[in-house]
Assembly symmetry: C2
Homo-oligomer: 604 residues x 2
């Protein structure tokens, strides 16, 4: 395991310098914060992660959470991290002062959680889901519900979950059948099964508060008949004590990775005594849940980006320490009497390291971009600003969920490869990162679902306005970079790729216009890959622009090499990754239709 | 776990029809075989795999081999499969009658082993390495050594290994230090450490015969001073009994996957009593070992191709059984009152299945191509034929090792994705295939090493003759396909990609000419990817040509759909995979040098 699991300099550089956290601090919501206090918050989370998260990374893989006697037995560190996350204000960081929060910018909070993810991705999900659930109660719940649940959740004493998936429905939420029946006492009786519930139970928590999607009896079919309920594992009696609320932990799911973060199967109301309280309006549950989903999707991207970061640091350390092989001399042979090289000196290893670096730091910048949009949206003062950042955030959400998950897995794969045979051995952490990160492309909406969301919902939004806004942001960087002799060629390339994305859409759009949505969306995954590369190319160009400026700054915060390494990595991304857009465009614009089922089944 | 882990029809189609096994049978070596007898051999191995391999696939993952009291404890099925592989003639299949073998064509043998790999990849390595070791003894050993070892090995009573890697040397064989000291009794005393030894020990085997690379005292440095020794775990005394030969199992390696196939760390001569016998000439050990390495590298590609096949069958079965979601209707919405679709009806799932199918069946054809070259080479009757197939085999070896390993892993990754969250759960086999296949790109030479071999050794061989021969083979298929209206466009595309590979080489070659091998080889991995896609495109076009012919054949063996599905998959490969050559060529021909270290280190 690498002693240095995260590159804090780069994290702070991207948060403070590239995405200019300071610009946010003039907003009213953040007026009691300054860069120094936020920097201290981040440092304290790093220190906490060093002490309470990272040392348990391997151990939690070796001792997976498991189901026993109707509960789930998790590593004791889960309990410790939940309570300390409460005490340190990590869970409540972004909540209003009035709700017991600290009104910290989401960007700074995400940076802190990124450190925790990199330290040990099996743990941050517990506090993270808890705050997401609490957020929904705060946003849509009545005061009474807020008073009962939110303080205990923000202090980490009670956990929280999101309960969406059901066995027969999978990703298709319109098919959920969990039932809610109104009683005369104001609450609903809940019955149904939920699967894949992360953090669904543990032996330490006094209570777990489930946010459950269910269908009120007589509700319309499909997604328009789904409502949102708060369903505690134990309900509060009038005397203030807790009684069991008939939420049964039926089983758990044993997994290939992220084994310390339990995944449960819950049964509600097996004894007809499970009570739930409606949150917000009837039948609006899905829309409400999706409000939280944006945060959850950024969190998945953040987690994947962080795992890839930790894997990169580990393989980089290995490459700097492991001697093996020699340089080729002018006759193409190696001289065995020469000292062995460190493997970081071999071009192929350098290619794999730079690929990792470009994906890892690019993903981090993407997560910070989405967080910045989120911050601006929640603090917007004008309708125009709100509208603009709503659209930009919507546009970037499927990308920030997907790119770090998919490219991050590829990045970890390359890190594992650098270790050779050792990469496959459990004594080394690369194989654990490899297994852990694989969940990212699955939960909170698979890559397929994100891609349909991008091309099917986000691109056509308000006649393409969201995409136009994003393109305008990208163009701003292109224009600035065009004025720099070293950067202008890259700016031109990015401009071309952006223009080509328009051509791809012009090719696809007519299918949607004609009502042939199946055809329009058939290669949505390829479009996702195309747009992700354009966005990452943009973020790298942006980082190079800033680094160039800093290099001319006598007062620069980091070393010359630090900034030069960013410019070098940008060039790497443009040489090795950006050209992939060409082949993607070729496939996307092909007139052959091969993946839509006609009469005969050729997939045999 | 899929009940149908291998598509036997496609296997036989590729072996018999596409690669025309029958054409080989006129050769003297194979004159006692006919298609029927070979078909029975393959069927018997399938039946054996159904009974003795596949049922233990999950169990062997859950109960990994482990080191205890100086030996390795493996699953009891290892013993059973070794002995039965001996009895059934699987180990001896390709050996000469004179050496106790059956003189079965390598192609038919590889097809049989492919079935075993697909059934349970944790087991076939034991018999497979044993036959490889026996092959070296037969080829280079004195009669006395053959008499002692070969019969016991071919019957599966004794195991065999290859011992190359050492802790300080890794892939760099020029740095191995295991020492051999000649004694007055004709044998050598061996001392040293070997790591990553597959099948290195187990509690059942009466004996394990290690083929060990070591350096005779006073030998030149580098690879030119390495000799090959047979070093049994227990040596034969004059009275015919066995005595311990001071080969110590020091430890084992616990791994992320392929856990039932033990990986050991062996110590030779800790008590100065380890005897080894020289095989072949002094200092020629590496060249001799490499003779076996071609087989071993085909075997790795075969194993990866087979794991990907099993994963494809599993995800295909799931996609055909799992209902989820609905088709989009003309307004772009789904109608929740409609019955759910099976997920195989979703274009994105179809794309992932077809990607798998194209990689899986294409890889199988590649393995059979290499095996055919191997067969022709070993039975060549003229110098010209020997020379031609030697070069073709050398050219294809790094590709057959690499493509199924790399693309196979991507294929399994897509299979896992099709299962959604279940793909990540240990109750489903996809995650095991995902972990198991990852070793393929590492052992028997990593992808980096194979790529250097391809561009650095094989392409320049005899002034490019090997590559010219391969291109001529590809051109033959292009010419035939050009005459078919449905296929001619694909033939044109493949011709272009082949021509472009020449342009890429024209761009790179001058660096080699000027002695700048580091630059010449820096992007060897990308060149490997480029050439692999061209070769696979060729093999798919070849399969489509044959399928088109069969469709016109009233007497065809398989259904119309069977052949149409091959043509459809060829088209898929050309739409989604072949365009990747464009971006690869762009990266390969870029003048930017970013992965060769200059003065400053930017990878930080």
């Amino acid at each position: 395991m690498s002693k240095k699991y995260v590159d804090i300099e780069t994290l702070k550089y991207i948060l403070y310098d590239v995405h200019k956290l300071e610009d946010l601090l003039s907003r009213e919501r953040f007026q009691e914060h300054d860069l120094e206090s936020l920097d201290m918050f981040i440092d304290s989370v790093k220190e906490f992660s060093d002490r309470e998260l990272h040392p348990y990374f391997k151990e939690m893989d070796e001792t997976p959470a498991y189901h026993k006697d109707g509960t789930v037995i998790v590593h004791e560190q889960v309990h410790k991290v939940m309570l300390q996350s409460g005490e340190m204000g990590i869970i409540s960081a972004c909540f209003d002062y009035d709700d017991g929060g600290l009104q910290i910018p989401i960007s700074a909070f995400q940076a802190a959680l990124y450190i925790m993810d990199a330290a040990n991705n099996h743990l941050p999900g517990y506090p993270s889901l808890t705050l997401g659930a609490a957020e929904l109660i705060v946003e849509f719940g009545k005061q009474e519900l807020k008073d009962i649940y939110v303080p205990k959740m923000l202090s980490g004493v009670w956990g929280g979950t999101m309960c969406l998936t059901e066995p027969q429905a999978g990703s298709s939420l319109s098919d959920i059948v969990t039932k809610a029946t109104l009683t005369n006492d104001g609450f609903y009786k809940i019955t149904g099964q939920k699967i894949f519930i992360s953090g669904g139970d543990n032996q330490f928590s006094e209570n777990i508060i489930h946010l459950v999607l269910a269908r009120i009896e007589g509700a319309p079919k499909g997604t328009k008949g789904i409502s949102l309920f708060v369903v505690p594992k134990n309900r509060l009696k009038e005397d203030g004590s807790l009684e069991y609320n008939d939420v049964m932990t039926v089983a758990d799911f044993q997994k290939m990775g992220q084994k310390g973060y339990c995944t449960t199967h819950l049964g509600f109301g097996d004894n007809d005594d499970c009570r739930g309280w409606l949150i917000g309006e009837e039948h609006k549950g899905l829309a409400q849940m999706f409000l939280m989903m944006n945060g959850a999707r950024i969190a998945v991207g953040r987690g994947a980006a962080a795992i890839a970061m930790a894997a990169y640091r580990t393989s980089l350390q290995y490459a700097n320490e492991r001697p093996q092989g020699r340089k080729l001399s002018a006759n193409g042979k190696k001289n065995p009497t020469e000292k062995q090289s460190l493997i970081i000196e071999h071009p192929d290893v350098r290619r794999m390291l730079l690929l990792q670096k470009s994906i890892v730091e690019g993903s981090l910048s993407l997560v910070m971009l989405a967080s910045k949009y989120h911050d601006i949206l929640t603090t917007a003062t004008s309708k125009e600003e709100k509208e603009k950042y709503h659209l930009l955030l919507e546009m970037i959400i499927p990308i920030v969920k997907t790119y770090p998950s998919e490219a991050g897995a590829e990045s970890v794969d390359n890190g594992l490869q650098i270790l050779g045979g050792y990469g496959f051995c459990t004594d080394f952490s690369l194989q654990q990162y490899y297994r852990d990160i694989r969940i990212s492309a699955l939960y909170e909406g698979t890559t397929g679902i994100q891609s349909q969301d991008l091309l099917g919902r986000k691109v056509p939004m308000q006649n393409g306005k969201a995409l136009k806004l994003l393109a305008a942001e990208i163009m701003q960087t292109i224009i600035i970079a065009s004025k720099d002799d070293e950067l202008k060629d890259y700016a031109t390339i990015l401009g071309d790729k952006l223009k080509n994305s328009q051509k791809v859409l012009e090719h696809l759009m007519p299918f949607a216009m004609k009502g042939n949505y199946e055809r329009y969306l058939a290669d949505a995954n390829l479009f996702m890959e195309y747009m992700s590369i354009v966005v990452l190319g943009w973020l790298w160009l942006e980082m190079a622009v800033d680094s160039k400026n800093q290099l001319n700054n006598a007062d620069k915060k980091y070393s010359k090499t630090f900034y030069e390494s960013k410019i070098h990595t940008m060039k790497f991304y443009f040489k090795y990754e950006v050209p992939k857009t060409n082949s993607l465009a070729e496939s996307l614009m092909s007139d052959e239709v091969l993946t839509i089922k006609k009469d005969k089944e050729y997939i045999i």
